[in-house]
């Protein structure tokens, strides 16, 4: 096997579990396979492993229950937070609004964006880590779609992607620890829910409409799922 060919095979083998990678590369070495044959073997194994993963419910729930809907909704929330921030700055400059009233609302809004994005990311990273590449692709598609159609002169296109920062942080955390400590999970889910209620009581009337409840529910359920997962699995790992 040539060095270049071997390098390609090793890169392809990175998507395998470390133990399996060790064994398979050893087998290829022992048999003295050609690089292209080794590459085909590895890709065949990777494909079979992926197919086996998708026989479980977790990748489907992660991809189509969290990644796709949350990506769309969190882009909207990101935009809304950026818009609120602009209004807050303008209001302060023009002295046209009471900062004591608008600042807490802005902070709550930003905290909700942080909480929703982090929990969605943690859910994706912890529930189905081996299909993370599919989740990443499914997150990129709505982002590209919205970026291409974005036309608000006062805001940068990057405002759409603000949610990605806490979401990626959540994914990284989810990959490192498979589940949250129960107390943390309850605190996170309760805080998110209380913030929604707080936003509604704080005068943002659009938060109490039925459609808003559905959208809030879609963004909040991963947090409550994490509570359930922590309760059922018992073992703490935060």
């Amino acid at each position: 096997m040539t060095n270049a060919g071997w390098s390609v095979v090793e890169v392809a083998a990175r998507s395998l579990h470390p133990e399996e990678r060790e064994v398979v590369l050893g087998d290829l070495n022992e048999r003295g396979e050609r690089a292209w044959q080794g590459l085909l073997d590895i890709l065949d194994l990777v494909m079979r492993r992926q197919v086996m993963l998708w026989k479980r419910w977790q990748p489907w729930l992660t991809a189509f229950g969290v990644t796709v809907p949350c990506s769309f909704l969190l882009m909207g929330v990101s935009l809304s937070v950026c818009q609120s921030w602009l209004w807050f700055i303008d209001a302060r400059t023009l002295h046209s609004a009471d900062p004591a009233r608008s600042l807490p609302m802005l902070v709550c809004h930003a905290a909700l964006l942080l909480g929703w994005s982090w929990t969605a990311g943690f859910f994706v990273g912890s529930t189905s880590p081996r299909t993370l590449w599919v989740s990443a692709l499914l997150c990129c598609s709505p982002c590209m779609f919205c970026l291409a159609r974005f036309h608000i002169p006062s805001l940068s296109r990057l405002c759409l992607l603000v949610f990605l920062v806490p979401a990626i942080w959540g994914v990284r955390r989810g990959l490192r620890i498979s589940r949250l400590r129960l107390s943390w999970a309850i605190a996170l889910a309760s805080a998110t829910t209380l913030l929604i209620v707080g936003m509604g009581n704080g005068g943002a009337g659009r938060w109490w409409t039925p459609s808003a409840w559905v959208l809030n529910g879609i963004l909040t359920w991963p947090a409550w799922y994490l509570v359930l997962a922590s309760t059922r699995l018992g073992k703490t790992a935060c």
């Binding site: 133990e19 060790e22 398979v24 087998d27 073997d41 079979r48």
Partner: protein
């Protein structure tokens, strides 16, 4: 009942005994059947058989021949041996009247 590839794999592992590991089983299957056995088919089947309790596996020693990488050692469990025997008996019984078996028996006698 197990599938034919599962039977081939268990039988190859049983015949290799203490030396049963991925690459050796693969070579044994290829030598016996004359067909190429892919690494993907081999390791996904090993995992499935292990989940069914028909095999046990563990990481073996690394060797220079393998570029310093470890082997996945395989051992057939008692349950695996019983299921393989059941498969063999079924194939033997169902094959009794088949022309290729009777012709072979006649030509042998």
């Amino acid at each position: 009942m197990m599938g034919e590839f599962e039977y081939l794999l268990i039988t190859a592992a049983a015949s290799l005994g203490e030396n049963a590991y991925g690459a050796a089983i693969r070579e044994q299957i290829e030598a016996t059947t004359g067909h190429r056995c892919s690494i993907g088919a081999l390791y996904t089947t090993i995992e499935r058989l292990e989940k069914k309790g028909l095999l046990t596996t563990w990481m073996g020693d690394a060797s220079p021949q393998r570029g310093g990488r470890a082997k996945r050692m395989v051992r057939v469990t008692g349950k695996g041996a019983r299921e393989a025997k059941a498969f063999y008996d079924a194939v033997t019984n169902v094959s009794r009247g088949a022309s290729w078996v009777t012709n072979r028996t006649r030509s042998a006698s």
